[in-house]
Symmetry: C2
Subunit: 233 residues, 2 copies
DNA sequence: ACGTATTTGTTCGTATGTATC
DNA sequence: GGATACATACGAACAAATACG
């Protein structure tokens, strides 16, 4: 059977096709998180495209956070959360330095609600993880570097206990803008499965940090300005 | 004063740097929506990089929906909504049913809170805009296309009245996944500056839409599956 | 209607820096 | 240190589509 119409030419670029195909592989699970995907030159042959076209697709996927290439090593598959949040990061990149108060507000909202969800949904494993990070924070004492790392993990554990990846990613984004501490009352509230108390606990701590954040913001602004000068030169 | 430590070497690729710089131009407004940006070879010289590096950055931006290249014509700047929604399409392409639930939850949270903020912060101009879109929704009647457009603008107007760009952007991203209607009770609550009533109003409407969204999701999955078959052939 | 210049699409060759063993 | 594998980056060249005189 033959088509009587001339097939309408759909103009697609090789790069886009390759991109689509690779996204398919990634989402279908042919390439799993942490896997190393074939080398560039090998992929070229398999796909039957030039190296430049492949690299353009690869770079696009990397900037979107789906894969990560390490010089001299190869290309590896990133986790889902990474690739969900990366485009968001680009999207808000322009508004970041504009207004810290808005970010603070957004964070307070998201984190407060996540704490509430966590209080309802956290399972035994979640609680164990949260408690472990809380211990690490205490152990860190006045070692600021260690404390911050533990603090970040602590917040992340709570967010994970809420079991909502979208909000988790949103928090991921905002988190990088602020380093801060948190008390133990919050953990207790979550452990006791008291959503309202958990919300209030988180809220109070975050509000207490708002002032300190405004100070930090000054440094961030200067840093950003310096970066732009560098790239401008 | 000099640092006694060796500066930690930060490894960045040329492509990423170029990408960053161009995003800066786009967000800063040097290149506006619809504008044609300089030709590839011209940009190469201006930036002092090879064409491959530039093209990799360009392709990444195109796939993210920030720019659009047309063969034989040039490269043009896309609108904001385009570049907000594009990454989501990639992300959603392989999402499973549970993701939709999470997205719905995230949206309910954000939009609910935005409504509450709007009730506190909306000024006269905001209210006028919200009211206008509400009128358009009523005028649309059973014309679904018109109704949806008006509805989207209506939600957007409320979000804008909250005066928080971070949350607005987040909503922007999520909004494209869902088309739905909203009643007028919400508007009244906002006009009356009643935050709690506004929150409840928005919440009820969004929850009512959750079921319908799960139906729509089935269609999306089928559409994506068809696209993949095409690209496989 | 035709041809030319411009612009993106695509490939290849080559040189270099980096990580692993 | 050396060998190997890999990504990084540049430049040249040709193809394809479009715009413009």
């Amino acid at each position: 059977m033959r088509e009587s119409f001339i097939t309408p030419v759909v103009r697609t670029t090789l790069t886009a096709d390759v991109c689509k195909k690779m996204v398919g592989h990634l989402l279908r699970g042919d390439w799993k998180e942490g896997d190393q995907i074939p080398a560039e030159r090998e992929l070229c042959q398999q796909l039957g495209v030039g190296r430049a076209s492949l690299r353009e697709a690869l770079k696009a996927l990397e900037i979107m956070g789906m894969i990560q290439t390490r010089l001299g090593e190869g290309t590896f598959v990133c986790g889902r959360s990474e690739f969900y949040s990366r485009p968001l990061l680009w999207a808000i990149a322009g508004s970041v330095k504009e207004d810290v108060t808005e970010i603070t507000e957004a964070r307070r909202l998201i984190e407060t609600e996540l704490a509430g969800l966590a209080a309802v949904r956290a399972n035994a494993e979640d609680l164990k993880k949260i408690g472990r990070h809380l211990d690490l924070m205490e152990e860190a004492g006045h070692d600021n570097a260690r404390f911050q790392t533990a603090d970040i993990d602590f917040h992340l554990a709570i967010a994970e206990a809420a079991h909502n990846r979208i909000l988790l990613n949103a928090l991921h984004l905002i988190r990088n803008l602020m380093k801060q501490w948190i008390g133990s009352a919050l953990f207790m509230a979550i452990a006791k499965k008291n959503p309202e108390q958990a919300r209030q606990g988180m809220k109070a701590h975050l509000e207490a940090m708002a002032e300190r954040l405004l100070q930090v913001h000054g440094e961030v602004v200067r840093e950003v300005a310096r970066d732009e000068q560098d790239s401008e030169a």
